[in-house]
Amino acid sequence: MARMRYRSRIRDIMTRVRLSENASRLTKHDGNGMTNEEIVKEYRTYKFAKAAMLVIVLVLCLITFGIDIGLGPYSLSLMEVYQAIFDRFSDWGQTMSTDMKVVWDLRMPRVLMAFLAGLGLSMAGAAMQSMMKNPLADPYTTGISSGAALGATLAITMGVTIVSGTFGVVVNAFVAAMIPAVFIILMSVYRKPSPAMIILSGISLMYIFNALQSYLMLTADPNAAASVYAWTIGSLNSASWDNIPFIFTVVVLGGIMLMLMARVLNTMNSGDAYSKSIGIDVNRSRVIILVTISLLAAGIVSFVGIIGFIGLVAPHIARMFVGSDNKVLIPAAGLMGAGLMLLADCVVQVVLPTMPIGIITSIIGGPIFMILILRQKKEVW
């Protein structure tokens, strides 16, 4: 008995020694034999790579921005474009030259609109995919874009507008885009649907809106139908300096709001139960994020029409480079989307300037999206 007690005592001491040794080893090494300094260094390299990626995409966006402005039958080189911009800023009151007028008044609003629309739609898409844990989630597939299209169609074909004047179509589109958004929000609050159910409901709404829109187009006169078509297919041709402040404000405020919610989105990725266990009000957070995304998307779509696949593709490409941390993913997806939109606009200007940009984003973005999904190994969105 004494011998057994003695053995048990020895075992206890040995266990304590081993635990103590392990603890001291853990402060210096991880499981792969890395020291603390090495782990910190690797983490810093990882963070630097992410920051470098954001900077590279931003620089590429600026270059593409200049190239895009220069493209067209009245072509200008990258240097001529930036010279015209520089001249304009250096002497604001001067009489404009033709180059300056083309750069500043004709093309700059369109290209800025492409940049802002890509930025906003992709940030909204990234946040939506993270929140719903669904690769198909974006303003396009949740019916928000189709709602906006129906609102615009009502204004153009039947003259039914909430406000009169220049912004009649835009306000109609904005209000109608909020219908599916409010539907999704109400459903989230009262029915607690799964993310997949939200997407499927959005798709159903999208088809209902599309059917109504097609009917209105068929019964309208050819000129009105053509106007609806030009609007719904996604076009940047109506961009002007009057629209830019509004869309800029929407994108900046929406972006700031999503960045503030990025930490919550990261936690929600680990599941509702875990989020609740650390004190996050999941339903309230979901409503806040959905309202932000809806306002962001509706604000953009009401000016540029339906531009599909940018909000789907850009977050997937960005995720390949920066991972799923929403604090980095949201700005990275935004910049990636802005770059893709500028590239798509370049393609439009080179190939067929009369083609709406929404067609190019679908034709190019669709196959890219399919390839990304098929090659994706992880199930993290």
Partner: protein
Amino acid sequence: MDPGESKIVIVVFAFILMMGSVTMFIIGSGLLGNIDDPHKSTYTYTFEGMMDGAVCTGDGRTEYTPENVSSHLYTMYFTLRSSAEEKGFKIGLLFDSDDMPSSSLYEYVGETVIGEQVAKDWIHREKGMTYVISVVEHCKVLRITINADDMDVVGDIEG
């Protein structure tokens, strides 16, 4: 549904969305094809005058692309030939949505009768050159006069 199956569903759905956009474009193109935009017309010009002290002749054309709904940008390409040289030029002609030359670039100077049409004359100075364009409806330029130290040419619309 296993991950492989769900991927296929996503891909099929994306394909349907893509085809929807393309179908919409084809239908829309049909609709727009029935509507004539008078701005889209391309015109050709014949030039004559003096270049670098020598008599010259030339030809040119305008090209239009609907870049923006609030303005119309035409690019005029023309080539001038004298016994000594041949030079190619490209100038931009910018019109507002009211089909008149952009008021921030051009100044209205009066009217001219060309053939049987009354055209509005607009003047613009840039980089040492003076342009006078005679315009009728739908941004149609009947005549362009270009003056500079080494150039004095007039281009008239053909036909």
